[in-house]
Symmetry: C2
Subunit: 596 residues, 2 copies
């Protein structure tokens, strides 16, 4: 993380660019372009914007990413979750500000771009770390459900309002009588076809003799075929005249260059949503990028990614787009289709530019129900309730974070859900580390090793208490240690020495240092001595100049064994105490691979 | 912390109560009563309340604490910092709600009492841990300065407004022409006398032949003498008639029993201030209680203290008082005067009850300037700018927390200052643990020990990378580890094995587990294997049932040495690499008492 930001990663691959690479990148770009045309339209509609915004957002941002991005195969553009967050952000604006959704989307992209760029230049990529995986999982699943529920609008041909599940369901209940039959039929047929393709086509094609790679690519292309077929049918049979909603007129032309609207109230109102969009988009993009880079033993530079995504969003803001990030499906297709360098992204941008110049009239008759079906199929693959069961088994705290984020997002909306999840996961983490595992340790007979007296048959002394604190000492847990030692002193009359084994103490902050001083002083006043053993280098560096160490009643020992040998040598002769009845934990501890 | 809450700690000492204890407690109570009469008046005035509220707050709360408290010598009542917070909370109410300050103080005491009681019954004493020592130090120093600045009102005989330093100074600047000369003279003389007493009297008395104990007690009693003398002079010379502000009529009688006002808007507005008062008061009280208990090798039970302080505040709320907590000065006097049990508190309450019944007419002529001087002397002992220098030397993060709290409290007020300090210290802690110390380790030649390659001359292998993570793995730092390993894999072509030495990993949350799975999978795809060594018992217990451990490409080794011996045995023959030039850190690490 400490290397200088490579300002132009493209120089590395541009130098070695040759004809083979060009051919590979061109093929990949052609395939991704075909995939991206309907996807861009659909995600723009999902964000509540005119369809062409999606095309525009897939041109300039790709060019910028190709220059600044550190991933070789990441494909940026509008993605489902970010489009949902964009819709929610615009929808929660006061009425006067949401009169111009496209302008608001440009402000969001500009704000998000500036924030990402700033985080990148300040090397603050670690901000994204505070979105824990449980929070992300809960959020993605809830977003997928919200998006799918919202698509009932297109699938049923009815108006639907709301940014939470209860709102959407209430709106749906009031509109059920107005379902448009032909729209439902086309939507349901497309859904059935797409699910069939997703779950069986590749296997079928392989059994028909195609190679696995070709079968997969063809299966991925099938939806585009369906879209083409539906558009032809809609035109041929005049579905639009029968009341079916179609994409309609998409203006032909270059992306419109221009500034986002300058209303300060709009910028202020969108600042928090833009921050959340930035962080969520960055996390999604980096996960995709890291996964794909690792397959080729390449790596991506998170801070450089921030710069590139920031630039991509600024480009979207100045060319009529919407917030963008690296998308999973398109990046995987890009990589699988053989893309070798970000030049593939440049060619994809050219393809989409051509589409927005010449292809848009052909999209007029594309039924919105078909686009809605492609979105539903795409987002339902994001829904993963299994994470609830997995986190429940592994850790109740993580489960609570998933559940809070999931329910918060579904019931309160994307922003409150995300904020609640992040807040809860931070609070639970602090709570856990504020109650550290403090083990009393004794000597494993015949060795220089010390282990938890509750898990092992070990030798101890009445005169010496050895405590191993399994946590860095800081303000939230310093008092726990005081309490533990106060307890021991009050209940063990023969006690003379307390030795803290610091092998797992990675840091001691000023509060904990005060606590150690207080412990030392109280022990001295009661006629006991406090000692330390196995203090780590970085911790000792900091303790070295402190009054605590100068005043310490006891000594600092290199190893816990040396401490016991010096302070309570009778322990080394003592027989091991009776071990406690073996518990599950103790049995697990006795298995190979488990220490302490 | 896991013992059941002893509902009535008083039963322990009441059973063994005898004539000796009675005598000791009575003497201590008499001395504390004399100290508390002026202090209670002064702190009530500081809170912006009529003086008798202070007396009432020193009766019922003491009785309740005597029954439920776990400290033998803690003396509860109004204290400086909590009274300042009470004044600030009432002062920041909207005008219609602050018309009745006494009613607002009762609501604060009731809310605070209920919160403390709830925290105690839920065993949430650890909430107080989130006030780090730097935050407390900065807050106490700033509070002392704010209180002292506010007392210029009494010392100069002018009206002063404001709850922040700029407000107080601006108010002072506008009033300097109206300073009341005689008030200033009396105030300055009292200040000089009290500072003299505090810094020299005990020594002087000892040189005159008194024992150290008696000299200290006499020095502590001297202020009461000064107050008596000033009251007599004020009455005798008719200072009140000359325009000097005196305490005036303090109603005679029992504390008024009754309910706090029921206005829901008032309760809502005071909820956050009450929470802050509860936490600050609890932390102050517990620190005092622990310090005094440790001297006698006793202990206090933090959760029981919450119950007792909660009860004390509820008692204050129903008997015309104000928020209370355990005070430092009075508890030390109580302990030094020989109090053995909380019965001394019962006798003190009786003394103050007697005072409020019969002594209040005698307080009519007590000049407010004298009370202001006693407050200034008391609170200036709280001011400690040294903490800035000490934390600066020890840790810049802790210094930032002190400075932010100090400046925030002085410039913005007690609540914003405290909230800013707590927020900053949490953020800095998370930031630190999100950038864990990850050391590459090699073998110390001829031993089974492994140390940081940057600090020691150790043996390593090109085929094996040993990493020791000096932090628990959780969501905020999981990505750091991924980055570190991605880096290594991309830059070391000969690498075959990555071994994580987990001796300092005290916990692995679900996010970190996901990261480990991702690392393992990426390494496997690149033809490498991930191994673990020295996993702790509690961590292994949790990992045991996970798909990560079942799928792990590598193995789990009991010790790091076993891992190296099995995976890269050539290391054990290799010569040590050239050690890096010794840095300060390396030299420190070479000193005795420092491991790793």
């Amino acid at each position: 993380m400490n290397r200088p930001l490579p300002a132009l990663p493209c120089r590395a691959w541009a130098r070695a660019y040759d004809r083979d690479t060009l051919a590979a990148d061109t093929v990949a770009a052609a395939i991704v372009t075909i995939l991206l045309i309907p996807q861009s339209l659909a995600y723009a509609l999902l964000a509540g914007l005119p369809p062409q915004a999606g095309l525009y957002a897939s041109v300039a941002p790709l060019l910028v990413y190709a220059v600044f991005g550190s991933s070789r195969v990441l494909a940026v553009g509008p993605v489902a979750v970010v489009s949902l967050m964009t819709a929610a952000a615009i929808g929660s604006l006061p009425p006067d500000l949401r009169a111009d959704p496209q302008g608001a989307a440009l402000v969001l992209a500009a704000l998000s771009g500036a924030m990402l760029l700033a985080m990148g230049l300040l090397k603050l990529g670690l901000v994204a770390n505070f979105l824990s995986h449980p929070v992300i999982s809960g959020f993605i699943t809830a977003s997928g459900l919200l998006i799918a529920a919202g698509q009932l609008k297109g699938l049923l041909g009815i108006p639907l309002d709301g940014h939470t599940l209860p709102q959407l369901l209430a709106s749906l209940a009031g509109q059920l009588g107005r379902v448009h039959g032909p729209t439902l039929a086309v939507g349901a047929a497309t859904l059935a076809f797409l699910f069939g393709v997703r779950h069986g086509l590749a296997g079928l094609l392989q059994r028909l003799g195609l190679s696995a790679g070709s079968a997969t690519l063809l299966a991925r292309a099938a939806p585009v075929g369906a879209i083409g077929l539906a558009t032809w049918a809609s035109w041929h049979f005049g579905w639009a005249a029968g009341g079916m909603k179609v994409v309609g007129t998409v203006p032909q032309g270059l992306p419109p260059l221009g500034l986002p609207p300058g209303d300060p109230a709009l910028w202020r109102a969108l600042a928090l949503p833009a921050l959340l969009i930035s962080v969520v988009g960055f996390v999604e993009s980096v996960s995709v990028g890291q996964t794909l880079a690792a397959r080729r033993r390449q790596r991506i530079e998170p801070d450089q990614e921030l710069v590139a995504l920031g630039g991509a969003n600024l480009a979207a803001a100045f060319s009529g787009g919407l917030p963008v990030t690296g998308g999973f499906a398109r990046s995987v297709v890009n990589a699988d289709a053989g893309a070798r360098t970000p030049a593939a992204g440049v060619f994809t941008a050219a393809g989409l530019l051509a589409a927005s110049l010449w292809l848009t009239p052909a999209l007029y008759h594309l039924p919105q129900a078909v686009l809605a079906a492609t979105i539903v199929v795409a987002v339902l693959s994001l829904v993963d309730f299994g994470v609830l069961a997995r986190t429940w088994r592994y850790s109740k705290a993580d489960f609570a974070a998933v559940a809070a984020t999931l329910l918060g997002t579904l019931l309160l909306g994307v922003e409150p859900g995300l904020v609640a999840g992040v807040g809860l996961s931070l609070a639970l983490h602090l709570l856990r580390s504020s109650r550290p595992h403090i083990a009393e340790v004794g000597r494993v007979p015949g060795t220089e090793h010390f282990r938890n007296v509750q898990r092992h048959a070990v030798q101890t002394s009445e005169r010496l208490l050895g405590l191993r604190v399994d946590e860095s000492l800081y303000f939230a847990n310093a008092r726990s240690l005081e309490d533990r030692i106060n307890d021991a002193v009050a209940t063990r009359p023969a006690l003379q020495h307390v030795v803290l084994q610091c092998s797992a103490v990675n840091a001691i902050d000023a509060s904990a240092l005060d606590s150690l001083e207080a412990i030392d002083q109280r022990l001295r006043e009661a006629g006991l001595a406090l000692h330390l053993s196995e203090v780590k280098g970085p911790v000792m560096d900091k303790l070295a100049g402190t009054p605590f160490l100068r005043a310490l009643g006891g000594r600092v020992f290199l190893t816990h064994f040396q401490a016991v040998a010096a302070l309570a040598p009778e322990t080394l002769q003592a027989r091991a105490g009776t071990p406690p009845a073996p518990t599950d934990a103790a049995r697990a501890a006795a298995e190979p691979g488990v220490t302490r």
